[in-house]
């Protein structure tokens, strides 16, 4: 009873050819061709290196030439508006809770119609790690990250963005989304059951079908 046989190999070898180096590779080769090959490969190497002088450059000349950042890139944080032009943010504090570095602070308040909005909204970008958790947490697509990374400042207090700095004019990445048009909440001008894809409320005490 010996050791069990090695299981059959189920995948091809990781390299297609075995590279032999050192004395084993030199065995049985004549000296002069070997030297010739070495010198030739050296010269070819220099030639290839020189030929790279005519290739196109990989460098992006940054301030003049901008690097492409995809639309979902996680850069400067903004607060967007719904298609009607009102603030999307309902001051639910979820972004502030989700933030791992506690850089988001806000204060909720309501307007005369009962609609919640932040009285003030503050992001300390010198703490922000651009993880995007706030965007994930936001139930109304209000807070969004944008492909803008050029936000250097000479003074650290300038890294603290207030609501005026954060709020943009447009809807950001989600052009049609309007939270109050789909939410079941009754709000100024829109009663219960008047939202999109919503049936009127059922009177559970009524007997009629």
């Amino acid at each position: 009873m010996g050791r069990p046989a090695r299981p059959a190999q189920t995948h091809p070898p990781l390299t297609t050819d075995v590279v032999v180096t050192g004395g084993l590779a030199r065995r049985g080769q004549r000296l002069v061709p070997r030297i010739g090959r070495t010198v030739w490969s050296t010269l070819v190497g220099i030639g290839i290196v020189i030929s790279h002088a005519w290739r196109s450059r990989d460098t992006i000349q940054y301030p003049e030439e901008m690097v492409y950042l995809p639309p979902r890139y996680r850069g400067r944080i903004i607060l967007s508006r719904d298609p009607a032009g009102d603030e999307r943010c309902v001051a639910c504090y979820l972004c502030s809770v989700a933030c791992p570095v506690d850089c988001i602070a806000l204060q909720a308040t309501t307007d005369e119609t009962g609609r919640r909005y932040p009285a003030w909204f503050r992001i300390n970008f010198s703490r922000c790690i651009f993880c995007g958790f706030c965007e994930d947490a936001c139930p109304t697509y209000a807070i969004q990250l944008t492909p803008d990374v050029e936000m250097c400042e000479y003074e650290r207090p300038n890294m603290v963005y207030e609501k005026d700095d954060l709020l943009i004019a447009g809807p950001g990445k989600y052009h049609e989304h309007d939270f109050y048009r789909v939410a079941g909440l009754a709000i100024g001008g829109k009663g219960k059951g008047e939202a999109e894809n919503e049936a009127p409320p059922v009177d559970v005490r009524g007997l009629l079908p």
Partner: protein
């Protein structure tokens, strides 16, 4: 030669060498990036030429730190040695017909002596740093020196035999009809390899070996002391290029243009070769360098010496 003419020559050579070495930093960075699909420093001044000035200012304002665990006196002296020896070698290099600081009879021996002294800088820097990486770098420098100094000297004996003189000006004059690179091609090839080892640049930068030894012998150095090592390396590159030109490519000899221009053009070409080679080759393993030195280069230079001597004797020289 009157004294003021001599002083002028000294100043000319000193300023030219230091300027060329400083310019080399820019040239190397631009040329290396050219062959690596990059741009290199191109922001400060026209074509980034003032980058060297900016770097110099930066390095001058850095803290000149001497590690408390180091052997302080040696640690401070070591960087100056590499620059001093390289600059001293230049006093015997004829940059043009008659323009040489000291036209001594054993100029070539003087150069070899100085290049042997230069390795002390590296060994002492590695030793006095009291750091394992520096020490390994210094050790490698010593062993590398033992390997290449032998065939470096031997490769030049063929040139000396043909010229019949150790004086570098005489050697250039002896190439009036034929540059020594043709009859002494083996010597040229061996000296080129030795030159790369002498300047401790990339195929043979085992003493620095940043992928293994942090920065080798100058791991513990910072500020202008590190800058001296850098400048010393570039002066050495200029020196070896100038020596190759003087010994094998006819120095200042050339048609139409004045001798100084020819010398500068040829030296520039070899400096370019040094940089291209840096962009091309990987670093051989330590024993591979020793094997190359003792098993290939030494026999090659010996055979070259024997054949050259036999031909010179047969011609009744």
């Amino acid at each position: 030669m009157t004294w003021y003419w001599q002083l002028l020559t000294v100043l000319l050579v000193l300023i030219a060498v230091l300027t060329v070495s400083a310019g080399l930093i820019w040239y190397e960075r631009r040329l290396l990036s050219l062959v690596q699909d990059r741009y290199g420093p191109n922001r400060v001044g026209p074509f980034g030429l003032f980058q060297v000035l900016a770097d110099t200012f930066k390095i001058l304002f850095k803290e000149d730190w001497v590690p408390p665990f180091s052997d302080k006196r040696v640690f401070v002296v070591a960087p100056s040695l590499v620059l001093v020896t390289a600059l001293l070698s230049f006093i015997v290099v004829p940059v043009a017909d008659g323009i040489v600081v000291a036209d001594i009879d054993v100029g070539l021996l003087f150069v070899l002596a100085m290049s042997s002294l230069a390795v002390y800088s590296v060994v002492l820097a590695g030793w006095s740093s009291h750091s394992k990486y520096s020490l390994v770098g210094g050790l490698r420098a010593a062993a590398q020196m033992v390997s290449y100094e032998v065939f470096m000297g031997l490769s030049l004996v063929g040139v000396v035999t043909m010229a019949g003189s150790f004086d570098l000006s005489d050697i250039v004059e002896a190439q009036k009809d034929l540059w020594f690179v043709v009859p002494q091609f083996v010597g040229f090839a061996v000296f080129l390899v030795a030159g790369f080892a002498e300047t401790r640049r990339i195929p043979f930068d085992l003493v620095e070996a940043e992928s293994e030894l942090v920065a080798g012998y100058h791991t513990e150095y910072s500020g202008m002391k590190f800058g001296l090592f850098m400048v010393g390396e570039y002066v050495a590159v200029t020196l070896i290029s100038a020596l190759i030109v003087t010994l094998f490519f006819g120095g200042w000899l050339g048609p139409w243009l004045p001798g100084l221009v020819w010398f500068l053009i040829k030296t520039g070409l070899f400096i370019t070769l040094f940089i291209i080679v840096r962009g091309t080759f990987p670093r051989p393993r330590y024993d591979q360098l020793m094997a190359l030195g003792w098993k290939a280069m030494l026999p090659l230079s010996l055979v070259n010496l024997l054949v050259t001597g036999a031909i010179v004797v047969a011609r009744g020289g």
